[in-house]
Amino acid sequence: MNAPATFESFYLFDGEKKITIEKDTKVQNAAIFTVNKEDHTLANMLRAQLLKDPNVIFAGYKIPHPLEHKFILRVQTTPESNPSEALSNAITDLISEMSLLEERFKDALKEKQESAFD
């Protein structure tokens, strides 16, 4: 009776932005990104990729409440970079990783099919 509709976990409402940035006032070069209507699938990937960047000092995410579908990602970098740049670099790297995965998977399939014919 009180259950929210299941599509609310991925459907963005009117006026809701996908991602908002809030600069952290207490330290330099730190920001908190709030991403709406996403879950651990994307958040964990972003966090892991951010940690591989040598300019990133801190990267972590949490889902504030399991019934609200969003996550917050806190990023802090060295003065050489800034959080938005680190995040967009991380996402670009992930996109190129995915493309490579796709390509290699197709090749592996073709190889398997060819070896099955021998």
Binding site: F10, I21, S84, S88, E97, F105, A108, L109
Partner: protein
């Protein structure tokens, strides 16, 4: 020292009362001898995919060199975010069977439909397309009809007791669902042989004499996150590659006992210098059943671990799409998610800076 760091970086160790080295520690700056910063070229060099088996609805493949978060993301997307077609609205005209309307509707929704979801669009919400029978659009809906009545079989023998002989149409199977093509659908799906449920022998309901079911159903595109009926996989799982090390040679009666502790095929006892010795032959078959810890003399000699970034994926499709296409679709969905995010960030960043 280097061997220990290699182990910490590479493996998860299974001990008697728990696991150690679970979290990955290879961050840039953590180890002075290693440069762990992200480098696409190194990733490209170290990354491999190999399809180990591939038949019908199952595909099993190995992914080596990838972060666990990406393997998990692929698994989560395969289960919940690759779209499929499934029945959403059932228009019941007559249901005198013993199966309640809502139970029947629930069962019809769970039937997998063999239709390529990439050829359809999502059905738009809104008042201008209220969900009535007449508003099925060829671009986003598939329509099925079911009309069946159970009658007594006049040709059955006098003293027959088998209900399948006595009555016609006693069992309602998914093969009784008739596809009603709309618009251009016949042309589009001619080469696939039309649209139909994946399996013909799914039992939907059982009827008594004189009971009938008459309904129409609309199938739309959706994702598993919305309802599990739209999940395209029976299951999508992965495990890490097991690794078993014997810290000293095990011979004789101990070797045979060791072989019994693991799944068949993992350990083989070979004759070496006249003594039967245990050799780890195929650790992939290991199921980590921990039987080894019941033998006090053997548990100190065997070291069980998992290689942290070697994943053995197993994907079983329900039949709407072949499993290899499901994996490609999952990667596309993941890419799209990243693209949407980066577009938003660039708009936001450009606005503020």
């Amino acid at each position: 020292m280097s061997r220990i760091t290699e182990e910490i970086r590479k493996k998860v160790i299974l001990k008697e009362h728990g696991l150690i080295n679970v979290n990955s520690t290879d961050f840039p700056g953590n180890y002075s001898e290693y440069d762990d910063s992200w480098n696409f070229k190194t990733f490209k060099k170290n990354f491999t995919i190999e399809v180990t088996s591939y038949n019908g609805d199952d595909v099993e493949f190995d992914m080596v060199g990838v972060d666990p978060s990406i393997a998990n993301a692929i698994r989560r997307i395969l289960i919940a975010e690759v779209p499929t077609m499934a029945a959403e609205k059932i228009f019941l005209y007559n249901n005198t069977s013993l199966v309640q309307d809502e139970v029947l509707a629930h069962r019809l929704g769970l039937i997998p439909i063999r239709a390529d979801p990439r050829l359809f669009e999502y059905r738009p919400e809104g008042q201008d397309r209220p969900e009535v029978e007449q508003n099925a659009n060829s671009g986003d809906t598939i329509e099925f009809a079911l009309k069946i009545k159970c009658k007594r079989n006049p040709k059955a023998a006098k003293d027959c007791t088998d209900p399948d002989e006595l009555y016609i149409n006693r069992n309602v199977y998914s093969k009784h669902l008739k596809w009603l093509p709309i618009g251009e659908q016949p042309k589009l799906f001619e080469k696939h042989g039309g649209i139909r449920p994946v399996h013909e022998d799914i039992l939907i309901a059982k009827l008594g004499v004189g009971q009938e079911i008459e309904l129409k159903m609309h199938c739309v595109k959706g994702v598993g996150k919305d309802h599990a009926k739209w999940s395209p996989v029976a299951t999508a799982t992965y495990r890490m590659l097991p690794e078993i090390t014997l810290l000293r040679p095990i011979m004789g009666e101990q070797a045979h006992r060791l072989q019994k502790c693991f799944a068949p095929g993992v350990i083989e006892v070979v004759e070496e210098n006249g003594e039967p010795t245990a050799k780890v032959v195929n650790p992939r078959l290991d199921t980590a059943n921990r039987e080894i810890f019941r033998h006090d003399d053997l548990k100190e000699i065997v070291k069980m671990g998992r290689v942290r970034n070697h994943f053995l994926f197993s994907v079983e499709s329900t039949g709407c799409l072949p499993p290899q296409e499901l994996v490609t679709e999952a990667l596309l969905v993941l890419k799209n998610k990243c693209r949407v995010l980066i577009r938003e960030i660039e708009e936001n960043w450009l606005k503020s800076s």
